[in-house]
């Protein structure tokens, strides 16, 4: 269309829309959190493989690492990991259901339920890990 042909080199809005956090709803935040935890967990997968590889270097190397990992800073990291796993897993379950056309009209309630469950799991893990 004539109008469409006129704006080849117009400056366009700066930010890609999906990186713009203004005015977003709960659903988008859940999506963003799912992405971030997902990427974090992939990173952790490789970290985990690297750590487990020390098992190949014999008992001293491994048992030394185990001592290290019992420090509070690593335990906090463990807790973060559990929370991330719980969120990605439970929100993922919601997305799997809703995204397959099941319980579609309940998507908001399911998100709230997932949030509550994540909180509970994290709480239990906190007691278990830090106590």
């Amino acid at each position: 269309m004539t109008q469409a042909r006129r704006h080849d080199r117009r400056p366009q809005p700066r930010r890609p829309r999906w990186l713009d956090p203004r005015g977003r709803h709960l659903g988008t935040w859940a999506f963003v959190a799912n992405r971030l935890t997902g990427l974090g967990l992939v990173a952790y997968l490789y970290l985990h493989l690297v750590i487990l590889s020390t098992l190949l270097r014999g008992p001293e190397a491994w048992d030394g690492l185990v001592e290290l990992f019992r420090r509070p800073v690593f335990l906090t990291f463990d807790l973060l990991l559990v929370a991330g796993l719980a969120f990605h897993g439970l929100n993922g379950l919601r997305v799997a259901l809703v995204g397959s056309g099941l319980l579609v009209d309940w998507h908001r309630a399911l998100l709230v339920a997932a949030g509550i469950l994540v909180g509970l799991v994290t709480l239990v893990a906190a007691v278990r890990i830090l106590a």
Binding site: P11, R17, W18, R24, H25, F31, G99, S100, G101, R108
Partner: protein, 249 residues
């Protein structure tokens, strides 16, 4: 709180000679009923006649004045300034080429809609023919029906996947769901094939942002989910054997 107040508008500008987008600031007095569109038209009349804005019906029915106000996709004609903070930042919709200032090219909306095919309005809002002789059929149920879509493109701007133009997008997917629900002569197989695509129904991130911004309450997000359910019910039997009997599709 209904007294007129002064509002600062920060308006996205994109002229032919601009190297980068800029934001122009305008101050104006707003009453309790003043909408964002009223304010923009007042700016054009009294402060800067070069400001380009699309508008037509002024009551949220035509879908031309979609824009982002404080980051959020809205129809400017039904968004009152008193509901917003100060300043008010006004930008064009995302995911569409800017033709100038707040005007975006809407061709992409219709390129998406066209292959799906949809009648704009029903012949009648009631089932059955309404010629004044027969009694009325029941009013068709369901508040969220795609016939109410005003093609404003807010959903295409709000979707988390706005970065990728290949995504068929909420508007066309919701239209497809409606066509499958009530084909009215359309070919359901072709529509199913069109939306069963990595950039079709499966590209959606289930964020429901499209539904949240939809000014016509069409709820395209839920429609996409129902569409996926439909695809699964259609495709799953093939996975468990019918596929082999029928041969490759």
């Amino acid at each position: 709180m209904n007294a007129p107040r002064t509002v600062l508008l920060k308006v996205f500008r994109s002229g032919p000679d601009d190297k980068a987008p800029r934001y122009d600031q305008f101050r104006l007095t707003a009453g309790p009923r003043t909408t964002v569109l009223d304010a923009l038209l007042a700016v054009r009349r009294r402060q800067d006649p070069s400001l380009a804005v699309r508008h037509s019906c002024l009551h949220g029915s035509c879908g031309t004045c979609g824009m982002r106000v404080n980051g959020r996709e809205v129809l400017a004609c039904v968004t009152r300034l008193k509901e917003l903070g100060d300043p008010v930042v006004v930008e064009p919709l995302a995911g569409a080429p800017v033709a100038g200032d707040l005007v975006v090219d809407m061709e992409h909306v219709y390129q998406r809609l066209e292959p799906v095919g949809r009648p704009l309005v029903r012949a009648s809002e009631r089932a059955g023919k309404n010629d004044g002789k027969a009694g009325p059929g029941p009013v068709l149920e369901g508040l969220e029906r795609f016939e109410d879509c005003i093609e404003c493109g807010l959903c295409l701007s709000a979707r988390p996947v706005a970065g990728d133009p290949r995504f068929l997008g909420p508007v066309a997917l919701a239209a497809a769901e409606r066509v499958l629900e009530e084909p009215r002569g359309a070919d359901p197989r072709a529509v199913l094939g069109l939306v069963d695509d990595a950039h079709g129904a499966w590209r959606c991130h289930t964020a429901f942002e499209c539904s949240a911004v939809c000014p016509a309450r069409v709820d395209p997000g839920a429609a996409i989910m129902r569409l996926r359910g439909r695809l699964l019910r259609d495709r799953l039997p093939r996975l468990v054997g019918r596929y082999h009997r029928e041969g490759r599709s």
